[in-house]
Symmetry: C2
Subunit: 332 residues, 2 copies
Amino acid sequence: MKPTIYSVAEQAGVSISTVSKVINNTGRISERTRKIVLQAISELNYHPSVVASALTGKQTKTIGLLIPDISNPFFAEIARSIEDRSHELGFNVMMCSTDNNKEKEEKYLSLLIRQQIDGLIVASAFRCASLLEDMVKQHIPIALVASEIPELSINTVTVDDYRGSYLATSYLLSLGHRRIAIIAENVRSNKPRVYAFRDTMEEAGVQGIDRYVIKTEAAITKGYESARQLFSLKERPTAIFVCNDLLAIGAMQAIKEAGLSIPHDVSIIGFDNTVLSTTATPMLTTIAQPMKEIGTKVVNLLIQEMEEPKTYKERLLLSPELIIRESTAPLH
Amino acid sequence: MKPTIYSVAEQAGVSISTVSKVINNTGRISERTRKIVLQAISELNYHPSVVASALTGKQTKTIGLLIPDISNPFFAEIARSIEDRSHELGFNVMMCSTDNNKEKEEKYLSLLIRQQIDGLIVASAFRCASLLEDMVKQHIPIALVASEIPELSINTVTVDDYRGSYLATSYLLSLGHRRIAIIAENVRSNKPRVYAFRDTMEEAGVQGIDRYVIKTEAAITKGYESARQLFSLKERPTAIFVCNDLLAIGAMQAIKEAGLSIPHDVSIIGFDNTVLSTTATPMLTTIAQPMKEIGTKVVNLLIQEMEEPKTYKERLLLSPELIIRESTAPLH
DNA sequence: GTGAAAGCGCTAACAA
DNA sequence: TTGTTAGCGCTTTCAC
C-alpha cells in the first residue's frame, strides 16, 4: 500500500497536521518532532500526493505545453529547454502536439483543464483565439512562445522576427544578390519576416519582389516544392531566404536536383539554427534563434504570472543572430 | 469561479450523484434528466476535475515518460507517437528528459510518483535498476521502449537490434567490404548490435575485428571523434556501421574532412532512420526502426498492464528494415 | 508546539 | 430513477 500522511503520522506518533507542517515548513514545530517525522517519512518512503494537495486549493505543479509538433527539431529544442526550466522550479510538463490543428487544440485544452494545470505555454498557432477563452476565464496563466495571437493580451517570448529577417535579407543583398526569393511558413510569426524582407528589399531599390514571395507549410517536402516552383520562373532567383530550416533542407534538395550548386549558383539561408543546419551539406547559413533562452524565459514569465498576474502583459523579443556557414556566397 | 459538480447539480436542479452518473455513464438515468444535466454542463462549460476524481481512487489519466533527450530526433519521434496513442486513449503524458543521468532519473521518478501517474514508460537507460523499485512496489505499471533493464521483468518494446545489426553488417559484407568498423553507443540496447556485428563478421571469416569496435555516447561530436580515431589506424576501414544516425552524421563530417568521399572511399551505414538520414548529403543508408509502431505498441502494452497485470511480461521485438540510400557502395 | 476537525470536488455504496 | 452520505489524502483554521 502506498504510504499516506496517516501512516507517517502513526509511525511517528504524531498527528497528521504535524506531519503536514513539517512537510510544508509551515507553523512552528520543535526540532525534535521534526526529526522524528522526517525519520518516519524516509522509513516509509513517503511521497506526499500532489493530487490530494491540489484538491485543497494548492497547485498541481504541472504546466501544459501546446506545441505544433514535438518531432520537429525546432520545437523539440524549445520543448527541452521549457522542460528543464520547469523541472528546476518543481513543475512537470504535459506535452501536447497539436499539428496546428483546431480540433486537437480544442481537445487538448479540455484535457488540460480537467487536469487542473497551473499554467499553460502555447506554441501552437491558435488561429481560432476564442478556444483559449476558457483558460482566460478560469484565470489560468498563459504564456506564448514562438507564436502570436493578436486577439489576446498574453505574455509572449519570441525571437525578433523582423530583425532576423532583416539580417538575412541584408546579408544576401550585401553579397550582391538582387533576385532574392523568400519561402515563408504560413503562420503569424512569419509575417514580420515577410515584411522585413519586403522593406529591406525596397529600401535597397529592388523591383518586382512579389513574384519571389512564397508561403507554404512547415515540411521538408513543402520546401522542395516551393523551390521547384521558383525555378520554373523565367528569371530564377540567385538567392533564397527560407524562413525555417526544415523548409530550407527541402529547398536545398530541389536546388541540387536541378543540377545547380550551392552556393555557387544559388545561395540559400535558413532560419532557426536547428541540428539540421549543421548536418546539411553544405552546412546551412542561417538565422539563429536563442532556443535555450527562449524556453527558459517563457517559463519564467509564466511562473511570474502565476505568482502575481500583471495587468500589463509583456512581450519579449530576443535577438537573433546571423550564422554564416557554407550555403551563401557572393553573386556569381 | 471554476464550475464544480455542485454548480452543475444546482443549475440542473438535481443532486451531485446524478450529475456524476451522467458524466461517467454509470447507474440508470432517465433520458430526460440526462439531457437536462448535459445542458447544464455545457451552459456552465464544466470540465470534471481529474484531480478530485483521482483522489477517490480513480486514475489520474496521466502517463510518465522518462526519455534520455527529447531534442534527439530519434526520441522526439518516439515521443510523438507515444503522445498520439496516449491521447487517443484519453491519457496525458508527462515528459522528462533524463540525459541518462542517474540523479535526474531519481528526481523525476519522485516527481512522477507524487503526481500519482497511472503508468510509466521508460526509454532512459537506468543503469541503476533499483531506482525503479519504488514504482514496482507501488504497483505502478511500467513499460520499456528502446531500452533494456535486465534486472527487472518488465514489458518491453524494442526494435530487433540483433537483426538490425545483422542486416547492416551483412549488407556491407555483400558489397565486398572486409575492413568494417562499428561505432556503437554505450548503452544496453547497443550490445546486441555489437554482438550481431561480431557474429556476422566471424561467420564471414573476417579476422581482427576488435580494433574496429568503438563505443561512445550519442552526440554528433562523438561520432566525429570516433571516426577520426578509426582513420588514425594503419589500415583504415573501408566501411563503417554506425549504431545511430546522430553518430553517423558526425562520422560523415570526419570522413569528408579527411578528404575522403562517401561512398567512393568509405561506405557508411546508420541506424534509426530519423530525419537526419534524409537531410544528410549523401543521403544516409540506414536501418529503419518502425518508430510510429514502437510508440503505439508500448502504450498499448502499458494500458493492458494497467487493466490487468500479467504475471509473465512480454518482450516485443519489431523488425527493422534496411533502407538503401546513397552512402554505401561496393568496395572500390 | 501540537492536535481536532472542516472542507477541497468527486465516486460509490446505500437509501428512498 | 434519484438523492444522501461517507470517505479519498491533504491543508488550514482554531483550540488546547
